[in-house]
């Protein structure tokens, strides 16, 4: 019985991938992942067996990885960012734990630099204080619950990071979230939008809660909405920790 490594490869560049993740990938017999992430590590996995799948085949992908680990020594399942944040860590463990113990490969989760931390670094220091992370994808979560979470986070003055803010088909949700945020936060609250952090074509914009949805936002974007103390200055978005300066 082999071992599964569930690997967060970081936001994109190999410069942002930890040695632990790199070793797990380089030592693996088989690499399993969503095709877009496989491309990010193509130069590291030449000659290896690769099981790449399209988006929205997460369950199949994880089942294939577990099956593969029954005959191979080491199988690496890759997620971008951190595998434990909307990644493959949970699904691999859920599926593995359904198997009888003698048919179950060992699993190790390897943390990576999460997309929210990478995006924050591009903007300056927008997190820095208590923050909430919310995915706007309603494929697996009822939209009413997502709205409830957004309202609760806004009302308690959290910095709010939005994953999956918008896609080609899903364009209205971000407007609804903006309306919810405006019920609790000032229209001048800084909002940072980072696209493709740490990848080719990285871009960032700092706008405000009143106007940010006029900016280009897509499924590769991460949106960070400040708290009541957040300010923007000369291309940086900063949430003070609270020190007297």
């Amino acid at each position: 019985m082999g071992k599964l490594y569930v690997v967060g490869i970081g936001p994109g560049s190999h410069e942002d991938m930890t040695p632990r993740a790199l070793n797990a990938i380089q030592n693996a017999d088989t690499i399993v992942g969503y095709n877009t992430y496989i491309k990010l590590i193509a130069s590291l996995i030449e000659g290896k067996k690769v099981i790449g799948t399209a988006m929205m085949q997460e369950v199949d992908r994880c089942k294939m990885a577990i099956e593969e680990a029954k005959t191979k020594e080491r199988v690496a399942v890759v997620s971008s960012g951190d595998a434990g944040v909307y990644g493959m860590a949970g699904l691999i463990l859920e599926l593995a734990l359904k198997l009888p113990k003698n048919e179950r490969p060992e699993a190790e989760i390897i943390a990576g630099v999460s997309a929210v931390n990478a995006a924050a670094a591009v903007l300056g220091a927008p997190l820095m204080h208590d923050f909430a992370v919310i995915s706007l994808s309603d494929l697996l979560t009822p939209w009413e619950l997502i709205k409830k979470r957004a309202a609760a986070a806004a009302q308690a003055d959290f910095v709010v990071a939005l994953y999956n803010p918008k896609s080609k088909k899903r364009i209205e949700q971000i407007e609804q979230i903006r309306t919810i945020m405006l019920e609790h936060k000032s229209p001048q609250t800084p909002v940072g939008i980072v696209r493709a952090a740490s990848r080719d074509g990285q871009s960032m914009t700092i706008s405000d809660l009143e106007n940010f949805t006029k900016e280009p936002i897509d499924m590769f974007s991460l949106v960070i909405i400040g708290n009541s103390k957040t300010f923007s200055q000369e291309g940086f978005m900063i949430t003070p920790r609270g020190y007297e300066v």
Copy 2:
């Protein structure tokens, strides 16, 4: 005028530090940081000028780093985990932006694997869905606001990660947070406690909301409280993303 690198060194082990962070440290003329973090990278900085300070001297530390960058080419300010999560990124930028442009060193923020992601990997996959990060330290934040945030996060069924849950002097807050959580979450909600993730002496415990404050918790611990779907099984704490499995 030199350049400041605000570097997240990751949770502890060099295996969890990105090449970008390693390069910034190795290429720096001067290293500035809290003594505990300086020790974690001692083997990387032999022969370099080191400005180590005690805890709670954050403003002085950052002022020294900025001063140092006026005469040195490269200065690295190190934080454990990610420098943008309760780290030095915000303070460095706040202080630097107060200077006239011609006296201001350039600053680059380098993201690291955050403590919450490292702790989550040790526990299995407890984040995986929308989550809130809250520090229980009330040195810089009114305790009433911290309680308000905890209540909002619990009421909207976020997974909740607690930084600085307890110290030698501050032992009552975690009990108050437990009480607030119990108003909205089941007593059986899994709670993971990870101490010194990715460092020597790493340990973890999975308990529940009813009982977790009976476990050892200190300032090197990170506490993760599940949402209504989180379960624990055979030493893993898992929050399902919502796939049918």
